[in-house]
């Protein structure tokens, strides 16, 4: 039973982290229908930027975190500006392939600078964040990442529901021409969504780095794990991403705990195919409102 609870908690917190990683992805998809294959690299860039700031430049943790977030915000903005904007209106394959190309470009740069080895952060999370309940011990990393995940989930929800920019973003996702006719600055919306996505991605990249250590390949492959997560939750649903993340996280830990550790990395994809065959819009995705 202890083993079960251990797996459960482990899976839940890893899953929450997957969900948070997927948030940025969903954000981009929601506003501009771009499937971002470079998401893992955005995660990795955040993780490495934080590494540089904390371990090499010895900045205080809070400041480093802030700088990482701001920097990746700017990076997302720039990526949209330079690479995606010329492709507005082009067909799907070019946009997808552009992000694929971008992914390997960014990965190449990261490998050039940091190599493929595992690196770790200094331990900076305070011990009081750990939770000890009976025999169950939750390490501070999981607690911190869960808290951050929940905070960001709420922030995102509020942002999309109530803030003007959030509503504009949804309107662009919904009907681009109509949004344009009302004077919504569609390009600004795209740029903003990339910027926010990169910011959230870098944050979850840092979290992932704290848990598993940072390795370019490792974090990039988590970027691909975003796909099962968002398909499970519905490509355009924020809450769905979080719940999808948790389901995938649980599935992974239980598979590796009870069946075979090597199956761990494929099981999300097997589920993905199953979901696609049964319920293509995911558990929480918007079902097309067909009436006009």
């Amino acid at each position: 039973m202890d083993f079960f609870i251990h797996l459960f908690i482990n899976g839940l917190s890893v899953g929450l982290l997957y969900g948070v990683s997927a948030l940025g992805f969903v954000m981009i998809f929601k506003s501009s229908s771009v499937l971002n294959f470079a998401h893992g690299q955005l995660l990795a860039i955040g993780a490495f930027a934080f590494l540089v700031l904390v371990s090499w430049l010895k900045l205080p943790v809070a400041l480093a975190f802030l700088v990482t977030l701001c920097g990746s915000f700017a990076l997302g903005f720039a990526v949209e500006r330079v690479f995606l904007r010329p492709l507005i209106g082009e067909s799907l394959i070019f946009v997808i392939m552009l992000t694929v190309g971008l992914a390997s470009m960014l990965k190449g740069i990261l490998l050039l600078f940091f190599g493929g080895n595992l690196q770790t952060y200094p331990d900076f999370l305070p011990g009081w964040l750990a939770v000890q309940a009976g025999s169950v011990y939750i390490p501070p990393v999981y607690v911190a990442s869960s808290l951050l995940g929940i905070v960001f989930l709420v922030l995102f929800g509020l942002f999309f529901k109530y803030s003007p920019q959030g509503i504009f973003m949804r309107s662009v996702a919904d009907n681009q021409t109509a949004a344009l006719s009302l004077g919504v600055h569609v390009k600004k919306v795209f740029a903003l969504s990339w910027a926010i996505a990169a910011m959230v991605a870098s944050m979850s990249g840092v979290m992932l780095g704290i848990i598993n250590g940072i390795n370019v390949h490792e974090i990039s492959s988590i970027g691909l794990k975003v796909f099962p997560v968002v398909i499970l939750g519905g490509l355009d649903s924020i809450g769905g991403a979080i719940i999808g993340g948790m389901i995938i996280g649980l599935l992974e830990t239980f598979t590796s705990g009870y069946i075979s550790p090597s199956l761990r990395d494929v099981i999300p994809y097997i589920v993905l195919v199953a979901i696609l065959l049964v319920k293509p819009y995911g558990l929480f995705g918007l079902v097309e409102i067909e009436r006009v």
């Binding site: 492709l87 552009l98 390997s104 990965k107 050039l112 796909f227 099962p228």
Partner: protein, 356 residues
């Protein structure tokens, strides 16, 4: 003597027969013959072994890229699993050759067919899914196949790999690079011919119709799902044949190369070469394999000069970066790929000196 045919300055074809010519002019035919002569006689005799090795790799890649172009460029279904299909081809050839002691000339086509069947299975989601969902499904296919290749140890011997027997054709051993060159390029020419002919039939037109507007295609009475599956099967058949040839050429295979990276590499070939263009796939294969070799040369040179080691500068990272850059640059500046550049160059020669 028959009259020489030249390109008319418009489309003056009057009946269907006239449209059936693959080469419209005698000049085109002569060029093709000369090209084939160069390819099969002069090139293998004149080039050093290393170049022949590179050409062989290019030829195999070109076969696979052709297949992917049928699926992506003509039918419009983006697949991220082509590398895995290539792997399936390689492994089925290897398993057939070692377990069942099948001869070479059976193994390679059989590898194609096995892969086509696997491709069919992963094409099934295309019945319900469109566009990006399908892309994600093929991504999943890539990972699942990769997993199976590594973990079905009783069949694939896992990470140990399989060593293949030597290829024999018509009783003669095919062992030297030159012999393989003739073989690979023979297959490539045949496959190219097949692809360009299929694309001119009703099948090809159905593919293109599905790519351009699947609803309209369905409305015109094209069974969309069936044709999508067919396209998947054809594309993976090509991948399988290429994989089979590769397995025989390498003589020993392991699960390592058939990753997502390989799939991306093939997609890069198709995009850089030109979507929906058969010569484009060949150009793309040449470009990417060439880039690969140049990068290898560069990193070796740098290694020898001793600049790299401490800096993590190695082939893998440089390759990743260069591929990514090539894809991005082509999409941003010449989305129709090398085929378009080739067309522009050619027509500017043809139309000279009145180039409009």
């Amino acid at each position: 003597m028959r009259r020489l045919r030249f390109h008319p300055c418009g489309n003056y074809k009057e009946d269907r027969l006239e449209q059936l010519f693959l080469f419209e002019t005698d000049f085109g035919r002569a060029c093709t013959l000369a090209g084939l002569f160069l390819l099969f006689v002069v090139l293998p005799l004149a080039s050093p072994p290393y170049l022949i090795y590179v050409l062989n790799i290019t030829g195999i890649a070109a076969i696979a890229a052709l297949g992917l172009n049928i699926l992506v460029g003509f039918t419009g279904q983006i697949s991220l699993g082509h590398g895995a299909f290539f792997g399936v081809g390689a492994y089925s050839a290897a398993v057939l050759a070692t377990r069942l002691q099948m001869p070479f000339w059976v193994c390679v086509p059989a590898a194609g067919i096995v892969t086509a069947l696997v491709g069919l299975v992963f094409g099934i989601p295309s019945g319900r899914l469109k566009g990006l969902y399908l892309t994600i499904a093929t991504l999943a296919g890539q990972f699942i196949i990769e997993y199976v290749l590594v973990h079905w140890e009783s069949l694939t011997q896992g990470s140990m790999g399989i060593v293949l027997p030597q290829a024999h054709l018509f009783g003669l051993p095919v062992s030297s690079d030159r012999a393989f060159f003739l073989l690979i390029f023979g297959v490539l020419v045949a496959m190219t011919l097949m692809a360009s002919n299929v694309m001119r039939t009703s099948y090809g037109r159905a593919f293109v119709a599905i790519r351009d507007n699947d609803r309209a295609a369905e409305g015109m009475g094209i069974p969309v799902f069936g044709y999508k599956l067919l396209s998947f099967a054809m594309s993976s058949f090509y991948a399988g044949v290429a994989g089979g040839l590769w397995a025989y050429y390498m003589r020993s295979i392991s699960t390592e190369p058939f990753t997502l990276g390989l799939s991306v590499e093939y997609l890069a070939m198709v995009i850089i070469g030109g979507l929906g263009s058969i010569p484009g796939s060949l150009f793309g294969a040449v470009f990417i394999t060439g880039l690969n070799e140049i990068l290898r040369y560069l990193t070796d040179a740098m290694m020898n000069m001793g600049i790299s080691s401490g800096f993590g500068l190695n082939l893998a990272s440089l390759r990743e970066f260069a591929f990514g850059l090539a894809i991005v640059v082509f999409i941003l500046f010449e989305p129709k790929g090398l085929a378009e550049i080739w067309r522009i160059v050619r027509s500017s020669f043809r139309l000279w000196p009145f180039s409009y």
